[in-house]
């Protein structure tokens, strides 16, 4: 007998998105199969989510904003290692990129990454160690610097260190950083997913903030996967698959786009073209040679990031 309830473990800031998705998915599934189902949501930092799953949180599907956290599930045998083949587009139905949010009128005249290391600019983004969001920020800045300094690693490090020096508050998650920027009015630039900048403008007033899209940014794929170990135990594979598949349907894609994500479906993408400015995107594969290498070189204990912290 198959389960009529699944749990979607997702990242911190995707609550509104998946609330909308669920609202559309549940009736559709009922129409298709005649079954009443429930989709529960759990939102937290994706590392915490992955850890919780390994410790026993029975999530049927994960919708993360980080490949590394799914890799952690793979490593612990919760997700099969070819999960990126299970769904189209590297199993990431939508994506985003680190983008800038500045205060109305862009008083500090921030245009690109190079402006962020100016002495008069304060930058807000969360701690890359605890926030997937910030990892992209870190990597995007590094990618930019590598291009700008033609791969001179010393200068790259100097650039990134300077960027970190300009951060007055390190929050543990993306939303906390947003609060610091918006409510506490600290900092001149908030770096976060483009999907977030859209949401913030919507939430706090289009007249208060502006989005600035840098010249180059990093492709942030939001991967999804079925947690094999859990669905096998609970007998919920079909439902889980149907749920994730739904994200690829035009309807699902449209919801994603409405929530500020860039989508794969071309028709839908075209429809939202005005919302998403052109930007040159580089990938982790291209610049850093893959997530596992990034993890090892940058984020592991004693890695480049720690060195940057240590030098502060």
């Amino acid at each position: 007998q198959s389960a009529d309830k699944i749990l979607n473990a997702s990242y911190d800031v995707a609550r509104e998105l998946f609330e909308d998705v669920n609202a559309a998915f549940v009736p559709k599934y009922k129409a298709d199969t005649g079954k009443d189902v429930t989709v529960d949501q759990s939102h937290a930092g994706t590392s915490k989510q992955a850890r919780a799953i390994v410790e026993g949180l029975e999530a049927d599907v994960v919708t993360f904003n980080q490949v590394t956290d799914i890799d952690f599930l793979v490593k612990n045998g919760f997700v099969s290692d070819d999960w990126q083949g299970d769904f189209a587009s590297n199993a990431s139905p939508f994506y985003s990129l680190p983008s800038f949010l500045v205060r109305a009128g862009n008083p500090k005249n921030v245009k690109d990454w190079s402006d962020l290391v100016r002495d008069d600019v304060q930058v807000i983004f969360p701690n890359p160690k605890t926030s997937g969001n910030a990892r992209y920020t870190y990597l995007a800045a590094t990618a930019y610097a590598r291009e700008a300094f033609n791969g001179d690693e010393a200068k790259v490090k100097e650039f990134v260190t300077k960027l970190f020096d300009n951060v007055p508050v390190f929050d543990t998650g993306g939303r906390a950083a947003t609060t610091t920027f918006v409510e506490r009015e600290i900092g001149d630039v908030l770096i976060t997913f483009e999907s977030e900048t859209t949401g913030i403008r919507k939430e706090f007033g289009e007249d208060k903030f502006e989005t600035v899209t840098p010249s180059v940014s990093l492709l942030a794929e939001f991967p999804v996967a079925i947690v094999d170990k859990v669905v096998d135990k609970r007998g919920s594979r079909d439902l889980a698959k149907a749920y994730l598949d739904f994200l690829y349907t035009p309807e699902g894609q449209k919801i994603a786009a409405e929530n500020g994500n860039r989508v794969r479906d071309e028709t839908v993408a075209a429809e939202f073209k005005a919302t998403f400015p052109e930007v040159r995107l580089v990938t982790v594969e291209d610049v850093f040679g893959g997530w596992s290498k990034v993890q090892e070189e940058h984020f592991a204990s004693g890695g480049l990031l720690d060195q940057i912290y240590g030098e502060r």
Binding site: D12, R15, D40, S42, A52, V54, G56, G173, R175, F204
Partner: protein
């Protein structure tokens, strides 16, 4: 001639007195009262309707319920434990009594995060009992039991700490008297011991309850954050806070604050009944029998 007054005691000098009172009032207002005010100001910054919207939301309501259920389990269990521990520690001499008291007090000073992590190590799938429990189909973490356990850890010392000093001061005479009059152990406890510790016990329970309802760190680690299922009220505050619902977060915080105020009011009432510090010497026997010296 200063008639009718008492001669000045230490610190009765008016300048010192006024300075100290002012110092305490100003700092108290700035440090303790102001946060309270800020919570309510923010909670009602969108008017009562905004407040009501948060409170009315099913997730908030579920969080309130979960918090209440947790308290309903954790507080009575802790109460029983507190009474048993206080009884053992104060009515008998045994080896390691002091050490036991120190161990019981540990949760007071252990970071709740550490507590949460420690629970992962026991009941997590990677922990000591996790796999065993999992194969038996028992869910502890990311479900009510985990939340309750973590809450119990954090509040384990509350009742004991209220009872032990009082019962120590009361000595064993009353129980010995009851026993010599033919009362059984239970009877002695319920008819003689309990009535004399009831206010302190209640005070301990009230504080324990406040803390259970307000626990954040430890519960956050073991809860799983499933909305509408394993989100307690303090976690819900954080969640709303991170959902750009500052007003909602403060509204939920306001509920917790009201609970805190109710707790304090209860405490003040209890103290007037003679609980807590107010009662200690009053109930105590003048001196303990020789056998009771520690």
């Amino acid at each position: 001639m200063q008639r009718g007054k008492r001669p000045p005691r230490v610190g009765d000098n008016p300048a010192i007195r006024r300075t100290l009172i002012a110092f305490v009032l100003v700092l108290g207002a700035l440090l303790v009262l102001a946060p309270l005010v800020v919570i309510f100001t923010q909670a009602f910054s969108l008017g009562p309707a905004g407040f009501a919207r948060t409170i009315g939301h099913p997730d908030t309501r579920h969080a309130i319920m979960l918090t209440v259920v947790t308290a309903l389990i954790a507080v009575p269990v802790n109460t029983v434990f507190g009474i048993a521990a206080a009884w053992a520690i104060t009515k008998f001499d045994f080896w390691g009594r002091r050490f036991l008291l120190v161990v019981i007090e540990i949760p007071f000073s252990v970071s709740p995060i550490v507590a949460g992590v420690a629970y992962l190590f026991v009941y997590g799938l990677q922990g000591v009992f996790g796999p065993m429990l999992d194969s038996a189909g028992i869910k502890i973490l990311f479900a009510l039991p985990g939340i309750v356990l973590a809450s119990m850890f954090v509040t384990a010392p509350f009742v004991v700490r209220e009872l032990v000093p009082l019962m120590q001061a009361q000595g064993r005479d009353l129980e010995e008297a009851a026993t010599s009059l033919g009362a059984s152990g239970w009877r002695t406890f319920f008819s003689v011991t309990l009535p004399n510790i009831r206010w302190a016990l209640l005070y301990g329970v009230v504080l324990c309850n406040a803390r259970v309802m307000g626990e954040f760190g430890a519960v956050s680690v073991v809860s799983g954050n499933i909305r509408g299922q394993t989100n307690t009220l303090p976690l819900h505050v954080e969640l709303l806070y991170h959902d750009y619902q500052t007003v909602g977060a403060f509204a939920a915080a306001a509920i917790l604050t009201v609970l805190a105020i109710v707790t304090i009011a209860a405490k003040v009432l209890l103290e007037r009944q003679g609980a807590g510090r107010a009662s200690r010497p009053a109930l105590a026997a003048p001196t303990a029998a020789p056998g009771n010296a520690k």
